[in-house]
Symmetry: C2
Subunit: 287 residues, 2 copies
């Protein structure tokens, strides 16, 4: 595995792999890797264990642009030494770890990419500017790496929808793959932010996925009213945890539009605060 | 010369040229071609008269996104038949003439690219949303064509600066070339909008460039106060025409920043209305 913090070095290496006819896969992350990230590497590596056809680029960059002024940019967990070992073991070919200076040489970026509507809902309503920061940095990473395909985890489902819309609207010649959320044994979605939880919060946090699973069952047994589903989730979380609910929403899976009745694939998405830690999760339900 | 309105067909042709090792040149236009456009084609063609090394893509697209609600989108002059002939004669390899439907299949684009600061000055201050529309459509064209180099005319100097900033900020792997403004014999900058002028307006319009030239001479003979320069231009235009001045600005050529004193290369840019026709022009002065 090669590792570089420089765009020019990355481009040289990717260009060489491209000339060898390899498919370039990009897996963008903020590091502090867990099996949610590594499972994506494994899925890509599975197609080509001999490193002959698929070239896997993982980026690790905690992007200041996507954090609000009162969010956890400074204390977001980082461990590059451990990440390097895990990425190599999982089969990454090139690890890209740019500095903030390398990504934003002028401090801030005058240019921003904004995706209206889908960025303004759910997490976007509570984290103004977040998805603009995400869209901008992902657009940059796409231009830097020029991958054939980019992998994103379902845990950040809205992020995927925002990027899917950006790729479509801007005619970006890249395929996107949505990879399943990886969970702990008790159902908690893996997240770098889980390390913030104290033991009691960690014990309560699986209620998020449990309540999403029950909601999915409710839909599968015939319930079509999103308000009923929403209330069931809310009551369960309130009863079984001290979590403070930020939002619970049932939306069209395709574009996050509101639904009056559940007639189509929906995503049930939620954000809940445990103390100062904000957790998100979601489930997609086909009907 | 091939001509297509479809992105997929364009991509196939460009991909083939790329595989032949050709350099891909993009010349984006809004059509109603004049020698300002054609001189750019000729400059690219000059490097490879046998169509062996340079593949010239010209796009013709009157982009609704960059026109304000009270601007001339509907009446902007169009003549595809004549354009096709002129493009072919000048040496274009592929003429891309997408419909609005092809470029914006969902009507509007949810995704927009915005370049702060440089978009807000000069023309941007008088045409809100204009440069966002320009940046967005040029970003799309870059992703569609994936050129090695894109040519832009100096007449739209601010547009060039906005795109240069976008390319830098978003790490777009494309070189930009700024091509000289082409002028009529009497100095009027060639523009598709010149056709709007009535004979009297047409007779007066060359005062714009004449006043810019005199201003450049003032600087070259030692004047360093931008306010003095500005006033000289304003007085001359008022005296020699019925044009209504929208703005006259002396800015740093590199980034359009305001200057207190002229110590560096500056651009003198102006916009003047003749009746309902808005003309722009500029001159770059090195000191």
């Amino acid at each position: 595995m090669k590792i570089t913090e420089y765009i020019a070095v990355l481009r040289e290496n990717v260009e060489q792999a491209r000339k060898q006819g390899k498919t370039i896969v990009l897996i963008p992350t903020m590091g502090f890797l867990h099996y949610g990230h590594l499972s994506m590497v494994e899925a890509a590596r599975e197609q080509d264990k001999d490193h002959e056809k698929v070239y896997i680029v993982m980026s690790i960059f905690v992007n200041p642009l996507q954090f609000g002024p009162n969010e956890d940019y400074e204390r977001y967990p980082r461990n590059l030494l451990r990440d390097t070992r895990l990425a190599q073991e999982a089969g990454v070919d090139l690890l890209f770890v740019p500095s903030v200076q390398e990504m934003y040489p002028e401090g801030e970026s005058l240019t921003t990419v904004n995706v209206a509507k889908v960025s303004e809902e759910l997490c976007g309503a509570h984290r103004p500017g977040h998805f603009q920061g995400v869209a901008t940095v992902v657009n940059k990473l796409f231009n830097i790496v020029l991958p054939d395909v980019a992998y994103f985890g379902q845990k950040d489902y809205q992020q995927f929808i925002v990027i899917k819309q950006m790729v479509k609207d801007l005619n970006i010649p890249i395929k996107l793959a949505l990879m399943p959320t990886v969970r702990e044994a008790d159902g908690l979605a893996m997240s770098s932010r889980n390390t913030y939880l104290n033991p009691e919060q960690r014990k309560q946090a699986p209620v998020l996925f449990k309540s999403l699973q029950s909601a999915a069952e409710l839909i599968q047994t015939g319930e079509r009213n999103p308000e009923v589903i929403r209330n069931a989730i809310e009551q369960r979380i309130r009863k079984e945890s001290d979590g403070k609910i930020e939002y619970i929403e049932i939306r069209k899976a395709e574009n996050l539009e509101k639904v009056e009745r559940i007639n189509d694939a929906v995503v049930i998405a939620l954000a809940v605060h445990f103390g100062s830690t904000r957790l998100i999760d979601n489930i997609i339900v086909e009907v």
